[in-house]
C-alpha cells in the first residue's frame, strides 16, 4: 500500500544519516512535545490511513463541493422545498426510488442473489402499478424491503478492492471501484432507457436529472465542514470506506 512512501522515507533517512557528518542537509525544525515519530509506527496498520494517493486533489475537490453546495446546490434545494408541498416532495422521492430499482434489480441479478432479485422485481411491479408509477411505496409495507445494490457493490462482491479513495465533484466521497460502478450503472440505465430519452428532446432528460439531483441532495443531511472536527476529511473517508464494506458484505 505505502511501500513507495516508505522507500522514499528510507532513502531520505539514509541520505540524512550519511550526511550527518557534513553538516545538516535540511535546517532541523524544533521538535514538538509529542512528535509524530513517537506515536506513529510506520509499519503499523491504522484504520484511519485509508489508501488515498490523490489526497491533496481530493481535499481541493472537497472544498469545491462545499462552495458548490453553498452557492448552487443548497439554494436550489431550498427553492425546491419552498415551491413544493411536502406531500409532493415525498411523491417525487418515491418516484426516483422506484425508477432506480432498475439498477438494484440488475445488480441483484449480477450478484446471483435469487431472493433479493425476487423481492426487487416484485417491488418494481407492485410500486409501478398499485403505487401509481412509483409515487407511493406500498411494497415496503407488504414485507418487501428495498434491496440497495449498485455496480460498485457488485464489483466488491466479486472481490474487487476499493482502489484509491476519491472525492468526486458534486457527488462527494467515492473510490475508484465505486466511481467506475457509478458509470456502469449509468450505462445500464441508459441501455434500458425506461423513459425513452433517446427519442425525446434534451429537455426531458435534463429535467429528470436535475430533479433527481435536487431530490437526492434534499435527502442527504450531510453538510460540508459542519462536523465540528478538524479531522472531518479523515472521518468522512473512513466512514465512507466502512459503510461500503458493510454494504458489500450484506
Amino acid at each position: 500500500m505505502r511501500i513507495e512512501r516508505r522507500l522514499g522515507l528510507a532513502v531520505i533517512a539514509a541520505v540524512v544519516f550519511m550526511c550527518s557528518g557534513c553538516g545538516p542537509l535540511v535546517p532541523s525544525a524544533p521538535e514538538p512535545i509529542r512528535p509524530v515519530a513517537q506515536f506513529v509506527a510506520p509499519e503499523k496498520e491504522y484504520a484511519i490511513k485509508v489508501f488515498d494517493p490523490l489526497e491533496r486533489v481530493n481535499r481541493l475537490v472537497y472544498q469545491f463541493n462545499y462552495y458548490f453546495d453553498v452557492y448552487v446546490f443548497l439554494p436550489a434545494v431550498d427553492g425546491y422545498r419552498w415551491v413544493m408541498p411536502d406531500y409532493a416532495e415525498d411523491r417525487v422521492s418515491n418516484f426516483f426510488d422506484n425508477v432506480l430499482e432498475i439498477n438494484n434489480l440488475a445488480n441483484c441479478i449480477l450478484q446471483l442473489k435469487p431472493k433479493a432479485t425476487g423481492i426487487t422485481a416484485a417491488r418494481l411491479v407492485v410500486n409501478s402499478t398499485v403505487g401509481v408509477l412509483g409515487l407511493w411505496d406500498p411494497a415496503s409495507g407488504w414485507g418487501l424491503p428495498r434491496q440497495e445494490e449498485d455496480l460498485g457493490q457488485t464489483l466488491g462482491y466479486y472481490g474487487i478492492g476499493n482502489g484509491p479513495y476519491l472525492v468526486l465533484p458534486v457527488l462527494g466521497p467515492s473510490n475508484l471501484r465505486d466511481a467506475i460502478g457509478k458509470g456502469g450503472d449509468l450505462l445500464i440505465f441508459n441501455e434500458i432507457d425506461p423513459f425513452n430519452f433517446e427519442n425525446n428532446s434534451f429537455l426531458l432528460p435534463l429535467t429528470y436529472n436535475t430533479l433527481n439531483a435536487i431530490d437526492t441532495r434534499k435527502r442527504t443531511p450531510f453538510r460540508y465542514y459542519s462536523t465540528g472536527s478538524p479531522f472531518e476529511y479523515e472521518w468522512i473517508r473512513l466512514l465512507y470506506t466502512e459503510k461500503r464494506f458493510l454494504q458489500i458484505m450484506q
Binding site: 506515536f39 484511519i48 488515498d52 424491503p145 458493510l246 450484506q250
Partner: protein, 425 residues
C-alpha cells in the same frame, strides 16, 4: 448578593420515586440514551435560527481553518414576550448537538426562548471565542462563555422580547453554569432567575481521568491494539447488518440493534471512552494549531488546508486528557502565574472550590444520577449534602442518558417555571 439561606430542619435531596427509565446499567444508559417510548411528545419542528458573531474581531484565523467564520450559536424564539434560557453544551458538544436539540424542543414547547452555545471545548468556540485558546479551566472558560453570551444577546435582542433570563448546562456545561452565574452576580447583565446544572462533574480532573480509563482499560490489549479491535467490531457489525440492515433503521436504531444484540459492559465502556477521546483530540489539535504548534505540530509550521493530517490524527487520539492537562495546559498557566502547582490548578477545576456559593445560592438547582459514571458515589453524596432541597437525584440514568426521559424534561421545565413538580416526590 444572594442572602444567606438558612434552611431549617433536616435537608434531603429529592429522589424520584417510581421512576421507569429502562436501563439500570449506567453504561447502557450513557450509550443508548432514552428510547422513544420513554420520551415525551415534543414538537418536531422548532423555529431554530443559527447566527454567527465575531468575538475577537482582530484575531487571525489560520489557513487550515478557513471555513471557520465566527462563533456559531442558535436561537429558538417564541413569537411573544417570554423568559429566555441560555444553554451550555457538554464536552465537545455543539450548540445544535442532539442533546441540545432535545432540551431546545422541550423548553420551546414550555414557552421559553432558548439561546444555545457550544462548549468552550468545541473547535468553533476555541477558534472564535476562547481568550487563552487553551480550554479546560472552569473560570477562564466561563469568562469566555459570559463574553459570548453578552455578544450573542446583543446580536438578537432587537428580535426577541425577554421577560427574564435563566441558565442551564449539561455535563461540563453544568460545571461551568455556576461560574458563569457568579460572573453575572458581579456584572448583572442578565440577573439569572434560575440556574440548572444537569449531570455536572464535581472534580473535573478526576472525571476526565475516569473517562480516559474507560478507553485504556476496555480495549483488549490497550489503545495500542485499537486497530485489531476496530476490525473485529466492523466484522461483527457486518454480520448484524446482514440481518438487520443498519442503514434502514429509524432514529431509534441504536435501541433496536441493542435489543437484538446485547453487548458487554467492556464494549459499552470502550465506546464512551472513544467518544470522549475524539472530543479531546479535536480540542487538543485545534488548540495546538491556534498556538502556532509546539505540542504535536512542530513549532512555527503552518498547515495548509490541502495537506494530509492522518499522522496528527493519530497523535491527537493518543492523547489522554490527563496528558493534555500535564503537558499543555499546566505549563501554559505556569507561564502566566509563577509558582502555580498542578495540584492547585486541579483544585480550581472543582465544584468544591465554590462550595459556599453552591450551598448559599437559592437560584441554583441540580439534576444528577446516582449511577453517573463520571462521578463517584462520594461526590454525589457531597452534591446532595451541598444542594439539599435544590437537588434532584435519579436512581439511574448513567451520564446524561436519561436527559430526554419525560420525567427529567418535565422536572427541568418545572424548575424554570417554578411549579411544584420540582419538589414533588
Amino acid at each position: 448578593m444572594p442572602a444567606l439561606l438558612l434552611l431549617a430542619g433536616p435537608v434531603s435531596a429529592k429522589e424520584a420515586r417510581s421512576y421507569d427509565y429502562p436501563f439500570d446499567n449506567p453504561f447502557e444508559a450513557t450509550v443508548v440514551g432514552t428510547p422513544d417510548e420513554y420520551q415525551p411528545e415534543l414538537p418536531k419542528e422548532i423555529p431554530s435560527e443559527i447566527f454567527s458573531i465575531k468575538t475577537f474581531v482582530r484575531r487571525p484565523v489560520p489557513k487550515i481553518f478557513w471555513y471557520q467564520k465566527g462563533m456559531d450559536f442558535s436561537l429558538v424564539a417564541q413569537p411573544r414576550k417570554a423568559p429566555l434560557v441560555f444553554l451550555i453544551a457538554g464536552t465537545g458538544g455543539a450548540h445544535d448537538s442532539g442533546k441540545m436539540r432535545v432540551l431546545q424542543r422541550a423548553l420551546y414547547q414550555a414557552g421559553f426562548h432558548v439561546l444555545s452555545l457550544s462548549s468552550p471545548t468545541h473547535m468553533n468556540f476555541i477558534i472564535s471565542s476562547s481568550e487563552t485558546m487553551v480550554p479546560g479551566d472552569l473560570r477562564d472558560d466561563s469568562r469566555d462563555l459570559y463574553r459570548s453570551m453578552a455578544l450573542a444577546w446583543q446580536k438578537v435582542r432587537s428580535t426577541v422580547e425577554v421577560s427574564a433570563f435563566h441558565l442551564a448546562g449539561y455535563s461540563l456545561g453544568a460545571a461551568q453554569a455556576p461560574f458563569v452565574a457568579q460572573i453575572d452576580d458581579e456584572r448583572q447583565l442578565f440577573n439569572f432567575e434560575k440556574v440548572l446544572m444537569i449531570n455536572p462533574p464535581v472534580d473535573l480532573y478526576k472525571s476526565v481521568k475516569r473517562l480516559d480509563r474507560l478507553l485504556e482499560e476496555n480495549i483488549p490489549g490497550g489503545p495500542e491494539n485499537f486497530n485489531v479491535w476496530f476490525r473485529d467490531v466492523m466484522n461483527h457489525l457486518s454480520k448484524i447488518n446482514r440481518e438487520l440492515d443498519l442503514f434502514k433503521l429509524s432514529e431509534n436504531a441504536l435501541y433496536t440493534v441493542y435489543k437484538h444484540y446485547p453487548v458487554t459492559d467492556e464494549f459499552l465502556a470502550a465506546l464512551i471512552g472513544i467518544s470522549f477521546r475524539i472530543s479531546a483530540a479535536n480540542m487538543v489539535f485545534t488548540s495546538d494549531v491556534m498556538h502556532g504548534g509546539g505540542f504535536m505540530i512542530p513549532p512555527g509550521v503552518e498547515l495548509s488546508p490541502y495537506q494530509p493530517l492522518e499522522d496528527y490524527f493519530i497523535v491527537a487520539h493518543h492523547t489522554p486528557f490527563s496528558d493534555y492537562f500535564r503537558e499543555f495546559m499546566l505549563p501554559y498557566y505556569q507561564e502566566r502565574e509563577a509558582g502555580l502547582t498542578g495540584e492547585e490548578l486541579q483544585r480550581r477545576q472543582t465544584l468544591q472550590s465554590i462550595g459556599d456559593y453552591l450551598r448559599q445560592n437559592p437560584r441554583l438547582g441540580l439534576m444528577h444520577n446516582r449511577d453517573d459514571i463520571i462521578v463517584s458515589p462520594e461526590e454525589v453524596d457531597w452534591l446532595e449534602e451541598t444542594m439539599g432541597e435544590r437537588a434532584r437525584i435519579y436512581p439511574h440514568g448513567g451520564h446524561c442518558g436519561n436527559m430526554a426521559h419525560y420525567d427529567n424534561l418535565a422536572a427541568m421545565v418545572a424548575f424554570f417555571t417554578g411549579q411544584d413538580q420540582w419538589n414533588e416526590n
